[in-house]
Symmetry: C2
DNA sequence: TTACGTGCAAACGTTTTGCACAAAC
DNA sequence: GTTTGTGCAAAACGTTTGCACGTAA
């Protein structure tokens, strides 16, 4: 469900950000469905749709949107940035072979409470502050398991 | 407890690897205590001890030692490789501010069984194979919490 | 003696930066 | 009118590679 330019403008303003065309294009892309994409892939995907945003614009705006809390950043198996449009708390599986990323929402809020429990215990054990009890597992996606 | 060259040679052979002086130097460094280091920091630390190993030698050997299971690799908050000499199952906290990494061993084997439980449930929910139920939390270390 | 490890320098992919111009407010 | 965003090109950064030489087995 893509938003109108005016809705996007309001959304950005409500997060304290200026409106710009590139920001609208990026948010439209992410807003369509849950997506995980690295910057190069985003660049290509937008180009295919006729939107030629420079890589520096993408990097800058992804950082801005991330700081505002509109997207999440995670790391692929070789360390590249991957941006996730789903900001509801959930976990990730990253395929070590092909780089594919999938979300995991475990049944009910149980997985969240387990993650919170781990977070709380780790905080007590170490004195650290843990920002987000979101977990990233390395593994193999179904199709890469067949090798 | 640093090993003698002969012990290091045997250790490497028992993992199917050849002995070399750089491998001994790296293993000695990691063997002294639990360490987390990125490649640049390892390079500098070894140089201070009078060991001038090239970066390519470090990268290559860290990959070799990792594949053999003698060290673990994780990712820092900006995506760089960090190598961990402690290969017992445990979790990590990564400081988003200064990059510091600390190990978390939660009381008893409970945290491991929780992690295994999460792993099993995520595998069932998604069809993925999850290699290692080791978790990496992003957060702030005690000294960076004071900012 | 054969396979493998080393160091150097060059190449590589990803991300950041400096700058002149344009757009948002 | 002032502040902020954009695109380009160049630079920076972490990592990998090709190659001639040295070392382990």
């Amino acid at each position: 469900m893509s938003k109108s330019p005016d809705q996007t403008r309001e959304l950005l303003h409500s997060f304290g950000l200026r409106y710009s065309k590139p920001r609208e294009i990026i948010l439209d892309y992410f807003g369509e469905k849950d997506r995980h994409t690295n910057v190069e892939a985003l660049y290509e995907a937008l180009k295919e749709r006729g939107h030629h945003l420079s890589l520096s614009t993408l990097y800058l705006n992804l950082a801005v949107l991330k700081n505002a809390g509109l997207v999440r950043e995670l790391r692929g198996s070789s360390g590249e940035a991957i941006f996730d449009s789903n900001i509801r708390p959930h976990h990730h599986l990253v395929c070590e072979n092909c780089g594919e990323v999938t979300d995991v929402f475990l049944a009910g809020d149980t997985s969240e409470s387990i993650a919170w429990d781990l977070k709380n215990r780790a905080e007590r054990a170490t004195g650290w502050y843990i920002k987000e009890p979101s977990l990233e597992f390395q593994g193999l996606c179904p199709s890469c398991q067949q090798d």
